[in-house]
């Protein structure tokens, strides 16, 4: 399967697939689609990549956050150093590459992390209702309408959670199996 053309094609298609899957996710409320289908489509894109390039490569390309980190200085609170870390990495990445005391680091995002994020999002989207003395999962809707996105509300958040979870689950399964 590791032909060059296929590999390149997959590389191009992946962003398309991801965008398409997000589109499916958000149109799901009004047309066929939704979080589950969207998540699966997104995951299938990565599956192709895994099959073409192997799980290590996929994990390195898409699920590894590369960042720079400064050795911990004494006398500085950890909160502020984390804040600096985030700020510098987000907005001053170019500078860091040149800076000698900032060392490149990698953080591999385990799909389990995506799963738990998805589950958390789905579960939490229902909690807001509880604070308003309403039952769990009571839908709250913003009074506006966005193109593509539709009407924003907690059910959409829920669907997003499902999307993330499905993505994480399928990725986890295929990663493990492909590594075998």
């Amino acid at each position: 399967m590791k032909t060059l053309i296929l590999a390149v094609a997959i590389r191009i298609f992946i962003p398309l697939f991801v965008i398409f899957s997000v589109y499916i996710l958000f149109r799901g409320h009004n047309h066929p689609g939704g979080g589950f289908i969207g998540g699966l489509i997104c995951a299938i894109a990565f599956i192709f990549h895994i099959m073409a390039h192997g799980p290590k490569d996929t994990a390195y390309t898409f699920f590894t956050i590369k960042y720079f980190r400064k050795a911990h200085q004494t006398g500085r609170s950890s909160v502020s150093s984390v804040l600096v870390l985030v700020y510098k990495n987000l907005f001053r990445k170019k500078e860091l590459q040149a800076a000698p005391d900032w060392l490149p680091r990698q953080w591999r995002v385990d799909p389990i992390f995506i799963i738990s994020c998805g589950l958390f999002l789905a579960a939490t989207s229902g909690v807001f209702g509880l604070f308003l003395q309403q039952p769990y999962m009571s839908a709250l809707w913003a009074d506006m309408y966005l193109p593509v996105f539709g009407k924003p509300g907690t059910p959409i958040l829920f669907d997003l959670g499902v999307y993330l979870l499905v993505l994480g689950v399928v990725l986890k399964i295929t990663f493990v199996m492909a590594e075998e």
């Binding site: 799901g28 409320h29 009004n30 047309h31 066929p32 689609g33 939704g34 979080g35 589950f36 289908i37 699966l40 489509i41 299938i44 599956i47 799909p111 389990i112 799963i115 738990s116 998805g118 589950l119 789905a122 579960a123 229902g126 769990y136 999962m137 839908a139 809707w141 539709g150 009407k151 509300g153 059910p155 959409i156 829920f158 669907d159 959670g161 499902v162 979870l165 499905v166 994480g168 689950v169 399928v170 986890k172 399964i173 295929t174 493990v176 199996m177 492909a178 075998e180």
Partner: protein, 769 residues
């Protein structure tokens, strides 16, 4: 009264700790408790003797009408004094008998527990309160019999006792439940007034039989007697206390207690007389054949219990009076003799008659106690046993039915008792012997004082019956008969028929003693007979149960998944067909042909394609083909979903199918080759089951679809999806809003599956070869 009980429980459970602190002096607090209880209950003597009954009710489980209801009348007081009085002495005795035993703490725990339970049994005023304590006696007896737990014999005996008395307990429970239902109350004092209601009820017979089974197992009546001799595996204090003086009398107590409720009918009388009579004879016969001290005592106990049951069965005033007197007399002399046997065993290390002789010189107090008790047992004049025996004969002679038979039974047993009394009281200790059995230990006061005390009490009661025992016995008899009793006990009745019979008994008893040695040579010849006895039946039953259970379990739980599934599916089909046959609407097939003709062409094509694909799946040898076919089947079904207006489902099905195929492909090379393992017959069998199952499901589907469906949900979702859920895709709105909890659960399933697959592939604790 509750405080006494609770204090006992508390003390019981702290016994091991006390033993840790006090060492060998642990017996002090343990003996003080029964003494305190004895004194406490004695304080009620005046009230009870004055004709009062004392109540104490504590809420326990009022919803079920089961309360801690204590009820103290003459009968209860009689028994409770017996239990606690004996308890004091036994507790002291046990301290000496088991000195230095590391498990003494636990022993005291069980023994105290038993004493509390026994107190509870005789004090209970609620039948289920009684039952609870009743079972507690079985339980503590189990633990006590198995006290020498490293011996297999002890363990088996304990189990036997538990199973027999426990089984009886369950029968009793059933009986009491029926009794409660029939008498409409669980309170004994209320039941006592409803005897007529109970005996005339149609359930009287079963409930009586069940209660009798409970009492008989506890009191070792034929055919449940066999556990008692085996229970002698327990340490001697236990045998003396539980298995002669108190626990086995619980059954008698029960019979006595329920005499006003259940008694008086022919069924009751004849059952008790028959069972009691057989037990008396059997016990006496077997007692003569044994040479082990404790076995002899056990069988005479059985015999005595038989007499008690018989007397209860006769039910007349003199009989019940005789029963009470004999019960007391028996407790006194048999308790002593057991303790004596314990002392002998302790001192010489053996209990075999043949090896014991000339003990009197080295253990004088024990010997004296033995002689006193033996005299009482033999029914010699100034002893309490004499009064008991006299009354027995009188009662038997005064019986209205089976007079001769009853008399013969009591006479025979009296004779045997005399013979055995001579052995125990005279031969062992005082018969001149050139080579007395050597002593291993010397006796401590804790060992010889209790038997001496008990046996002297027997003498004392015999000398002054009117002052010491009559008042309480009178009240006890009153509780059984329901009318004021005026009987007087006296040692001397003058020269009458009964006295003559007593003399004759002594004489013949002596003769039996002379010939008992010969009996021992004949005894082994009877052994084949015992193979048919209840003991054997018990053993066979247990063995058969185990074998049968093992065979059945191996047959059912055979380890073959396919047979499990086969059974499950068959059960399902049988149940469905059964219900259909019973209630089932019948499928209406008219017009179905028209429906087939209505089908669109592409639908038909899909189905026509699916069937051969499935057939091919059964026959293929290639795993890849199989997966391809599976994918195809999945996709075709997705097409059906599209055709019938379910695009979301179809899309999901398509994606899932793809994913499944991908998973298969990923692990395909690790999967086994296809092989055909099942035999042809198996295949045919499975094909039939599978075919039937498929037909059944089709039938069910068609049957349900035959009726119109009115779904409020569909209409509601159609109206509100957009207006309230702000979505046009109803399915999606249902998933994320109307029924979002389902989706939350569904996502959880997926997450867990992912974790599971991960753990399964990564965590391999077994080293694979």
């Amino acid at each position: 009264m509750l405080i006494i009980i609770l204090a006992g429980l508390f003390l019981a459970f702290s016994a091991p700790l006390l033993y840790k602190w006090l060492g060998k002096y642990v017996y002090v607090p343990m003996a003080l408790y029964p003494l305190a209880a004895f004194v406490y209950f004695s304080s009620y003597l005046t009230d009870v003797l004055g004709g009062q009954t004392i109540f104490a009710i504590h809420r326990w489980a009022p919803s079920l009408n089961i309360n801690l209801h204590f009820y103290l009348d003459g009968l209860s007081l009689f028994f409770v004094l017996l239990v606690t009085g004996f308890g004091t002495l036994i507790m002291t005795y046990a301290g000496g008998y088991l000195k230095g035993d590391p498990l003494l703490g636990r022993f005291y725990m069980y023994l105290t527990l038993f004493m509390v339970a026994m107190t509870g049994v005789v004090l209970s005023g609620n039948i289920f309160c009684l039952f609870v304590f009743w079972e507690m006696t079985s339980l503590s007896s189990y633990l006590l019999i198995g006290y020498k737990h490293d011996k297999a014999g002890s363990r088996n005996s304990a189990l036997q006792a538990l199973l027999v008395t426990g089984g009886g307990g369950l029968a009793l429970m059933g009986g009491l439940l029926l009794l409660g239902a029939v008498g409409q109350t669980y309170t004994i004092s209320d039941l006592l007034n409803r005897g007529d209601l109970v005996t005339s009820h149609e359930l009287y017979l079963p409930l009586m039989v069940l209660i009798l089974i409970g009492a008989f197992t506890k009191s070792a009546q034929f055919p449940f007697h066999f556990w008692l001799p085996n229970a002698m595996a327990a340490p001697t204090p236990v045998s003396a206390y539980l298995h002669s003086a108190t626990m086995v009398k619980a059954g008698i107590y029960l019979l006595a207690r329920f005499t006003p409720v259940l008694g008086g009918t022919d069924a009751w009388q004849y059952t008790l007389m028959a069972v009691g009579g057989i037990t008396t004879l059997l016990g006496a016969l077997l007692a003569m054949q044994h040479t082990d001290l404790k076995a002899i005592l056990a069988y005479t106990t059985i015999s005595a219990l038989g007499i008690l049951v018989t007397m209860t069965g006769i039910g007349s005033e003199p009989a019940l009076q005789a029963m009470l007197v004999f019960l007391l007399a028996h407790a006194l002399y048999k308790g002593t003799l057991f303790l004596v046997a314990g002392n002998v065993d302790h001192a010489t290390g053996t209990r075999e008659l043949d090896q014991l002789r000339g003990l009197g010189r080295s253990m004088v107090p024990t010997g004296v106690a033995a002689s006193l008790a033996a005299l009482s047992m033999a029914g010699v004049l100034p002893f309490f046993g004499f009064i008991g025996k006299e009354l027995l004969y009188e009662a038997a002679l005064a019986a209205t039915t089976f007079k001769a038979l009853l008399f013969a039974v009591s006479f025979f047993s009296g004779m045997v008792f005399v013979a055995i009394a001579i052995v125990l009281g005279f031969k062992l200790f005082w018969q001149a012997s050139s080579r007395p059995t050597p002593m291993l230990h010397t006796m401590s006061p804790a060992l010889y004082l209790p038997p001496v005390i008990i046996s002297s009490v027997g003498l004392l009661f015999g000398l002054f019956p009117a002052a010491l025992v009559t008042p309480i016995l009178r009240r006890a008899a009153e509780a059984m008969l329901g009318v004021e009793q005026l009987f007087e006990l006296a040692l001397w009745h003058g020269f009458n028929l009964v006295l003559g019979i007593s003399m004759l008994t002594l004489l013949l008893g002596y003769g039996a003693y002379r010939y008992s040695n010969r009996l021992h040579t004949y005894a082994p010849r009877l052994n084949p007979l015992y193979k048919l006895g209840p003991q054997r039946i018990y053993e066979l039953g247990l063995e058969g149960l185990l074998n049968g259970a093992t065979k059945l379990t191996q047959k059912l739980q055979n380890g073959y998944l396919r047979s499990y599934i086969f059974i499950i599916i068959s059960t399902f089909m049988v149940l469905v067909v059964w219900v259909l046959a019973q209630t089932g609407p019948v499928l209406d097939l008219s017009g179905r042909w028209q429906e087939i003709r209505n089908a669109r062409l592409y639908e038909l094509v899909l189905i026509v394609l699916l069937v051969p694909a499935l057939l091919f799946l059964f026959r293929t040898r290639s795993r890849l083909t199989a997966i391809a076919i599976l994918g195809m089947v999945g996709y075709s079904i997705a097409l059906f979903y599209i055709l019938f207006g379910a695009p979301d489902v179809a899309a999901t099905q398509l994606l899932i199918e793809t994913l499944t195929v991908v998973i298969f492909v990923l692990i395909l090379h690790k999967l086994p080759e296809f092989r055909f393992l099942s035999s042809r017959i198996q295949k045919v069998k499975y094909m039939i089951v599978a075919g039937l199952f498929g037909c059944l499901m089709t039938y069910v589907t068609l049957l349900v679809k035959q009726y119109p469906l009115v779904s409020g949900l569909k209409a509601y979702y159609g109206e509100n999806s957009y207006l309230q859920g702000y979505g046009r895709n109803m399915v999606n709105v249902i998933l994320v809003d109307f029924r979002s909890l389902d989706t939350l659960g569904e996502t959880t399933v997926l997450a867990v599956a992912a974790i599971g697959i991960y753990a399964m592939l990564k965590l391999k604790l077994d080293n694979e070869h």
